[in-house]
Amino acid sequence: MSKKELVKGNIALCEGAIAAGVKAYFGYPITPQNEVPSYMSRKMVELGRVFIQAESELAAANMVLGAAVSGARAMTSSSSPGISLKQEAISYMAGMQLPALIVNVQRGGPGLGNIAGAQSDYFQAVKGGGHGDYRVIVLAPNSAQEMYEMAYDAFDLAEKYRTPVMILSDGVVGQMMEPVEFNRPGKKEFEPKDWCLNGCKGREPLSVQSLLMQEGALEQHNIKLQAKYKTIEQNEVKIETYKTEDAKVIIVAYGISSRIAKSAVKLARKEGIKAGLLRPKTLWPFPSEAITALAKNGVKFLAVELSHGQMVEDVRLAVNGKCPVEFLGKAGGGIVTEQEIVQKLRS
C-alpha cells in the first residue's frame, strides 16, 4: 500500500529495509544516524524481528555477519568513526561472500571530527576500507525517497552477488525531512540460498569462511571475487544525468552535493552557461564509462564534494586527460553553496 509521509531520511531508510524484509538490525548510537537504531528498536520488536543495541560497532557488524551467514537479511548503521570499526567485519563478509547492508550516515572527520554532514569517507567506502583485495557495492542516495528505495533494493543486490552493500549517505540527507512515498511491496518470499548455514539436515555440512590456507586456494578465491566484481561493474552502474547533452561544463556530484549542484546548474543556465550534472547513484561500481563518453574537446568537468577531493580522483581516471577536471569542495561542517558552484562555473 502506497502512502506519502513527511519523514527524515534516516526514517525512510528504516522503512525501506523493513519493507525489504530485514530480519535483524544491530546498531550502536552515534550522531547523525541515531534515528535509525531508535526507530528500529521499536519497529523491529513490534514486528517480531531482531533488534540489538550492541556493545560496540565492532560487535554490531559481527552480529550482522552471524545473522547473514545463516541466510537472514541483516543490517547495521553508523556514522563515520563507527564505520571505521565495522571495517573488520566488512572485510570478513566480503571474503566469506556474505550479503548484508551497512549504512554510513557520514559526518566530519578525521578522528572524532564533528557531527555535521560530510562526504569524507568516499575513499574508505569505494576503495575497500578494510584489509584485502575486495569491493563493496556503494549506493549514494540524495533524498529521503532514495534512502527508502536504496535500502529496499540493497538486500536484493547483496544477495544477487553474495556481497556486502553499503549505503553511503550523509548527515544532511539523513537528517532532512522530505515527503516520501512508501511505494514498495512488503517482501515475504525470498530466493532460496544453498550456501547458508541452517544445520546440516539432509545434506553434507557446510563451512563458510574466509580462511583459505591450502596452497593456491586463496589465489583462486581472489580470482573468483575479482570476476564477480567485474560482473558487478558491467551490470550495476547507476547514474542520473541532467542537461549533459549540450553541456560544456559537467558537474559530477553525489549525495547532498548533487542536490546543490542541480540548483547551481539551473542558475548557471539562466546566465547562459551550458552546465550539466552527472550524478553517480552507485559510487562503486563508478560510472567511469559514462564519464569517459562525455569527456570531449571543449568540455570540462567539475567535481563537487563535501571533502577535500576524493571522488574527483575517479573522475580524473575516467577522463584520462582528455579534458580538464576541476574540483570544488569543503569538509568539516561547511556546505558548498549554489553561488560558490556558479562562481566556479563562470571561471
Binding site: K23, A24, F26, V50, I52, A54, E55, S56, L58, A59, A60, N62, M63, V64, L65, G66, A67, A68, V69, S70, A72, A74, E88, A89, Y92, M96, L197, N198, G199, C200, K201, G202, P205, L206, S207, V208, Q209, S210, L211
Partner: protein
Amino acid sequence: MQKIFSKPESLKDVPMSYCPGCGHGIIHRLIAECIDELGIREKTIAVAPVGCAVFAYDYFNFDTTEAPHGRPPAVATGIKRANPDKFVFTYQGDGDIAAIGMAETIHAANRGENITIIFVNNANYGMTGGQMAPTTLIGQKTDTTPFGRDPKREGYPIHLCELLATLEGTTYLERVSIYNPQNIIKAKKAIKKAFQCQLDGKGFSLVEVISNCPVDWGMTTLESIKWTEETFIKTFPLGVVKDRS
C-alpha cells in the same frame, strides 16, 4: 565382533593438524560425543575462533563458520537471534575470549544470550608461537614474557568464569581440565550440561577447559600434564563456578 568404541559422527575422519600432546583433539572429541549423544548434529552451527582452533571447521562434521579474532560471541549472537531453533556454540582460546574479545564475551554473557562457549585455556597464544595470554600465570615464561609474567608489568591472570559469574545474565559456568581420564570424564559431563542448558532455553553457558600446550610451553607432553596438575590448576581451580540451570 561387537564394536564398542568408534569415532563420533560429529567428527570428520581426517587427520588433525594440532601438535603432538595438544589438548584440542581431546576437547573436539568430547564436544562431538556430546552433540552425537544429544542428537543435535543436524541443527548445530558452530563458530571457530582465530587461533589454533581456527581449523575446527576442518574437523567438525556439522555446519561451521568463522569470526574475526575475539568476535565469536557477537557472531554467535547474530546466528542464534536470527535462528533461535538452532544449536549454536563457539570454540575459543584464551587470547580470543579474554583479550581482544573481552567486550564481546562480557556483553554476550550479560545479555544472557542462549549460546554456549567452549573456552580452551592453555595460558598462552598457541597459534602465533606462545606469547603471553590474559591467563598466563604469574612467573610463567612465554615468547613475550621472557623474564616470566610480572604483575607490575603485565598484570594478573584473568579468571574469566569468576568474572562472568558476577553478571546476572550468566546461567552455567564451570572450569574443567583434561589432564587425566578422570578429569576428561568430568569435562565431558560439564560440556553436555552446558549444551543441555542451551537446549532447555536457560541462557548463557560457558565451560572453561584447562588444556595443555606442550610445544609452546617448551615441555614434553608428560611434563605439560604434570605442570597442568601441579601448577596450572592451582591458579585456576576446577569446579562449578555458577549454576542456575
